[in-house]
């Protein structure tokens, strides 16, 4: 039965396929008949093979012994009858077993059992019946056009700060004569208009942003800091001499445009200088023209990366199916590419600084030789070089702003993509505030929290604030990731911490603050108390600008999570003076 069932399943499946193919007009009637006959034959072959299989006598004897409670009589007798040596006890045993045969009932020993795969056979038969009853449609199914993707809708209050920023960027670019930035700002404004008119889908907007980034930002992630440092140092030297003091100060404050103007003016005044002044100027220019940029600052990093890449390549040769190593290799290759680009840009900046040095030295030499026209020409060239630096720096800063704006816009799109309303956004913020990403279960406190605890006596409303390490402090939360987050201070560190962990083992002392009993001051007392401190003496716009500059600098310098950045920027957009 088992064999018939197994091969029967195969046969039914084959028959089902044959019927399907016949219905789909892929095979003819003759072939279908042959296939059905073959399927039937398979089931019969299974039954015959199963029936013809040799029965294991020992197993059979055991089953009879077990089912009839014969205490291994038949099994033992079978074994004794197969051996040569025999004794009276062995013969008696065989005789005893033969005597028991009369009461053996084969049906009791091997009761009928349904084949194990009978259900599967039934299922395949059902499938076959389904295929038999299946009606193939005569005409082709109508192709339903896929609905167009939904147009992107951004709330005006969300979009407005971005539009304002883009306009501001365009204005600044025009003022500073940066055509590329101006063009980028124009394109961004065009995009915002399209968003306002609901002409774009989310996907299209992402694609356009990526296109803009590729067009304008590629190769712009250079570092101007090193060059700026050298220019500031140059300014420091120039500042020492009265004639070049203004230009030096401007350079020291990284105001390259003013430095250019001052140098230009100085070049025009060279004719009016006496010999002593010319000597002093030459000395000052000579001292200032000693700035050099280190050549191999990045070389060590590049060498290290190359070494790691070689090691990973060897590892991959040995273990070809190591996806982790492959990913690391790709990442490091990309990093190497970036470093190479940075090296190229640094080399360019080095050459430019060298040229500036040469021009200033040339001007100094001409002054010593009393060749005023040549000195004037060299100093003007130096001023032009300074102007080029100023342009580069401005462009880099403006492009950085534009890039930041695009990042903000993408973040906004991502958040909109998650379908969050105002409440959702607030929840999202709370999740991020706990150091997790939205949609993930946040990791609870790493360490054991030390909670604030009210004085259990309840006398006098004392509020005990135990500091970390204080004995007897309550410890809610803690290491249990499923538990509620602790209210107090943790003593662990984020595993992804960048930089040094907070040093908890510092000298400290416990402070107990005793609250004052009573209802506290009234509202009017609070308001009047606040007015006692005086009124604002600075214009809000100025305060806002100062704070915004500091915040932008911090956001740029520090490694702040993108989610946090978004909310900080959003906050400053909301409190922006209108």
């Amino acid at each position: 039965m088992e064999g018939a069932t197994t091969l029967g399943i195969v046969g039914v499946l084959a028959a089902t396929v044959a019927i399907y193919l016949a219905k789909a007009d892929l095979i003819g009637g003759a072939r279908l008949s042959a296939a059905l006959l073959a399927a039937l034959g398979l089931a019969l072959v299974g039954a015959v093979v199963g029936a013809a299989r040799r029965v294991d006598l020992q197993r059979l004897a055991k089953r009879i012994d077990t089912s009839h409670d014969l205490h291994d009589r038949l099994g033992t007798a079978l074994e004794f009858s197969q051996t040569q040596a025999t004794s009276s006890f062995r013969r008696a045993q065989v005789k005893d077993a033969l005597g028991q045969l009369n009461r053996v009932q084969p049906a009791r020993a091997i009761p009928f059992r349904r084949p194990r795969e009978i259900r599967l056979l039934g299922l395949t038969l059902l499938c076959m019946a389904f295929v038999v009853l299946l009606r193939f449609p005569l005409d082709r199914p109508r192709i339903v056009p896929t609905p167009p993707l939904a147009r992107l809708t951004i709330a005006p209050e969300d979009l407005e700060p971005h539009v304002a920023q883009a306009l501001e960027l365009q204005k600044q670019a025009l003022e500073q004569q940066l055509p590329e930035v101006s063009q980028l700002a124009r394109e961004l404004n065009k995009l915002f208009k399209q968003i306002q008119n609901k002409e774009l889908t989310r996907k299209e907007l992402f694609a356009k942003l990526a296109e803009l980034e590729k067009k304008y930002m590629e190769g712009l992630d250079g570092n101007f800091d090193e060059l700026l440092k050298k220019l500031k140092k140059m300014g420091g030297e120039l500042k020492k001499e009265k004639l070049t003091r203004e230009a030096g100060k401007a350079l020291e404050q990284a105001n390259l445009n003013k430095a250019r103007k001052d140098l230009d003016q100085l070049s025009k005044k060279l004719d009016q200088l006496d010999k002593q002044q010319q000597r002093k100027l030459a000395r000052s220019l000579d001292r200032a023209a000693q700035q050099k940029m280190e050549k191999d600052q990045l070389q060590r990093k590049v060498d290290q990366l190359k070494k790691q890449i070689r090691r990973l390549q060897r590892q991959l040769q040995q273990q070809k199916n190591n996806p982790q190593a492959r990913r690391r290799l790709q990442k490091q290759q990309r990093q190497l590419q970036r470093l190479n680009q940075q090296q190229q840009r640094q080399a360019q900046q080095r050459r430019q600084l060298q040229r500036l040095n040469q021009q200033m030295q040339q001007a100094a030499a001409s002054l010593r030789n009393q060749l005023s026209p040549e000195a004037m020409k060299a100093l003007q060239k130096a001023a032009q070089q300074m102007g080029r630096f100023a342009n580069q720096l401005n462009k880099l800063q403006m492009m950085g702003k534009a890039q930041g704006q695009m990042v903000d816009l993408k973040e906004l799109l991502r958040r909109l993509g998650q379908g969050k309303g105002k409440q959702g956004k607030l929840k999202d913020f709370m999740v991020r505030a706990k150091g997790a990403r939205p949609g993930q279960k946040g990791n609870k406190g790493q360490g054991k929290g030390k909670g604030l605890m009210l004085d259990p006596s309840g006398q006098g409303g004392a509020l005990i604030m135990p500091l970390p390490g204080a004995p007897g402090a309550a410890q809610p939360g803690g290491n249990d990731p499923n538990g509620p987050p602790a209210d107090g201070i943790g003593n662990g560190s984020d595993p992804n911490l960048k930089g040094q962990a907070t040093q908890l083992k510092s000298r400290r002392k416990n402070v107990m603050v005793r609250g004052e009993q009573g209802e506290g001051p009234t509202k009017s007392e609070v308001i009047l108390g606040a007015s006692d401190k005086g009124f604002a003496t600075q214009h809000y716009r100025r305060v806002y600008r100062e704070y915004t500059e500091v915040i932008e600098e911090v956001l740029k310098r520090e490694e702040v999570p993108l989610g946090y950045k978004y909310y900080v920027k959003r906050y400053f957009q909301l409190i922006k003076p209108r």
Binding site: K62, H71, F80, A85, S88, F89
Partner: protein, 343 residues
């Protein structure tokens, strides 16, 4: 007198085996009947003690005082018409007190010589009562007697007359001041039988018998020679290879270092049973088969013998002791895990 069945195939006659088995059953039945006159219940213990006698081994009976262990052994000796001696083991008992010693005797001519004075070990059935109260030195005096069936004093060996059967008792409760039997000595005992407290009905019978005027006594029904013949009959019972293999696999399963040992063995057993364990199981199974009217041992017989034959041969480790695991629990687990058919 019944002759041993021949193993010559030409002369092998099943009727002869049938007659031997029938006589065997009859004699055991008589013995049980006589013992039953005095001992109430304890059928499995009586069967175990008789198995020790008929298999040529020794038995260790463990039970709290007052359950009739000593009475059972004494009654067995009465029913068998054999010499019986009882040794009460105490901490100050010396080996010479058991085996005997050379004493100085004066002959009629006034000459003096040493003569060996036999100890209580020179009997057919020896009851070693509370064997764990004697010191290891005295306990070990029994070692040679139990295994070699002889004792050696002053370089002279004295053979013990067969059948020689030592039935030792021990009390599991009062462990203070006792000396647990060493593994080597425990291994000499064919079976370790646990004497349980009798049931309510049995208690009624015991009280009726012991508080009335009647004083039942067992009558001798089987003599020394017949015991030896019955031992020979037991050894003629054949065992199928698969049954023997089953016993071996059970024995191997008690060894924690075997790869196929059950989890409990690996976790709680320090040393597994010795090959004497398998011998005990097979001999006991043969006797059970004969008493059941069969001519060969079965796996079920082996199953019945696993606990009495192996419980004193399996040594638990510290973890097992600490967890309160007993060897009976381990053996039950082994019986569940080891399949009857070889894998």
């Amino acid at each position: 007198m019944t002759q041993p069945a021949t193993s010559d195939p030409a002369q092998a006659d099943p009727a002869q085996a049938e007659q031997l088995a029938a006589e065997f059953i009859q004699d055991v039945k008589h013995l049980r009947h006589e013992i039953g006159k005095v001992i109430v219940g304890h059928d499995s213990i009586v069967e175990g003690v008789l198995s020790c006698l008929l298999a040529g081994g020794h038995g260790l009976l463990e039970g709290v005082p007052g359950l009739g262990k000593t009475m059972l052994v004494r009654t067995l000796a009465q029913a068998l018409d054999l010499n019986f001696s009882r040794i009460q083991f105490t901490p100050d008992l010396m080996p010479a007190d058991i085996i005997g010693t050379n004493i100085l005797v004066e002959d009629s001519g006034g000459g003096k010589r040493f003569e060996f004075q036999r100890g209580p070990i020179f009997a057919h059935i020896v009851l070693a009562d509370e064997i764990n109260r004697a010191t290891p030195k005295t306990q070990s005096a029994l070692l040679e007697a139990m295994q070699e069936k002889s004792v050696t004093v002053s370089k002279t060996s004295y053979h013990l007359e067969p059948p020689f059967l030592v039935l030792a008792t021990q009390n599991p409760l009062e462990m203070e001041g006792t000396y647990p039997l060493p593994e080597a000595q425990l291994d000499r005992f064919l079976l370790k039988l646990k004497v349980e407290f009798p049931g309510r009905e049995e208690m009624h019978t015991i009280l009726e018998r012991t508080t009335s005027r009647q004083d039942p006594q067992a009558q001798p029904v089987v003599g020394r020679d017949r015991v030896l013949q019955m031992r020979d009959v037991v050894r003629q019972v054949p065992v199928a290879h698969k049954v023997q293999d089953f016993a071996i696999r059970i024995l191997q399963a008690t060894h924690p270092d075997r790869p196929d040992a059950p989890e409990m063995s690996r976790k709680f057993v320090r040393y597994g049973a010795s090959p004497r364990g398998a011998q005990a199981m097979l001999l006991g199974a043969k006797i059970l088969a004969l008493l059941d009217g069969r001519f060969s041992a079965s796996c079920d017989d082996i199953r019945k013998l696993v606990h009495p034959a192996l419980r004193h041969r399996v040594i638990l480790n510290f973890e097992g002791e600490a967890e309160g695991i007993t060897t009976d629990i381990v053996l039950t687990e082994i019986l569940e895990r080891v399949p009857q058919e070889a894998p």
